[in-house]
Symmetry: C2
Subunit: 154 residues, 2 copies
DNA sequence: GCTTGCGTTGGAGCGTGCTCCAACCCCTAC
DNA sequence: GTAGGGGTTGGAGCACGCTCCAACGCAAGC
């Protein structure tokens, strides 16, 4: 995978998580990068979690979200993309504590890039192990299905 | 995948879970199918969980385990293979409640095979979705690693 | 002005899946 | 007989990640 392909892939990832981000969300995120802002309900929809969860993530220190004059949270496109990334890491099993550690490293600037790399590499290995586990479970499940005589192949 | 390949695969799955079942465990499970029996500590090692967890699974209704005259649990090879299967389903995200439902269906005999198939097919779909999720998370992680400039490819 | 709706907060509650504890039992070795 | 090392039980505790609640604030529409 060369860098261009990786960029294309990353863009796809940022805007099209399997959790369910819509085409409109894509357009919001890609086309109106700078100016657009969302309230918590809309941002939650874009990210694919509940507003509750977004507030929880803020409380947990994963993000800091600016407020409008009324004190309401205001999310912009980069913030939403960050949340999509964080959510992806979450749903793939990275604990909140690790994610907090990661964003703290990001906050501390480029000097922490090696540390971040360590975290990412570790998580990558975890993901690979998970992948193997799931593939095994899938094979076992498909075997059971086959031996039960169900011809349920798609 | 024909049936023979599936059988071979299933055997491999039953005796070589990534959780860490040893070669001795394999031999125990395959060669000494009928006569061998294990106490809870040994069975736990074979399955790759703690004795605590095995007792918990029994309390949760996933298995019923016979006792020796002293009242100690006695596990035989089929029981351990069943536990390996259950553990694989667990670690791949099937909740205890679903597993209990499944084993209840098994207990009720062949008439429940269609219901079991439904459960399995549903879980298979869940697994496929999980697989896609993890692959996306892996791609995202590898992209981050690449853009941080770390040449950490294996 | 008042209702409605969405937002805010701190704090409590909950479901899951273990994990541990206390009190006890059994068997073996010394 | 007694100490030690395993096992047994019911029940409590815990970590995690939400999820909800009460009490309140702001803003728009009638």
């Amino acid at each position: 995978m060369n860098v261009n392909e990786q960029l294309a892939e990353a863009l796809r990832l940022a805007v099209d998580p399997p959790g369910g981000v819509s085409v409109e969300a894509l357009q919001d995120l890609v086309l109106d990068d700078r100016s657009r802002q969302w309230d918590i309900a809309t941002a939650a929809q874009h990210v694919g979690v509940s507003p509750h969860t977004l507030r929880y993530y803020e409380r947990a220190g994963l993000v800091t979200v600016p407020r409008n004059p009324a004190g309401h949270r205001v999310y912009d496109a980069p913030a939403v993309r960050r949340l999509v990334f964080l959510t992806r890491m979450r749903t793939s099993g990275m604990p909140i504590s690790d994610l907090r550690q990661y964003v703290e490293l990001v906050d501390r600037g480029d000097v922490t890039i090696p540390d971040r790399l360590d975290l990412l590499v570790e998580h990558r290995d975890t993901l690979r192990a998970q992948l193997a586990q799931i593939q095994l479970a899938l094979a076992a499940t498909e075997y059971k299905i086959a031996t039960y005589g169900g011809s349920t192949q798609p």
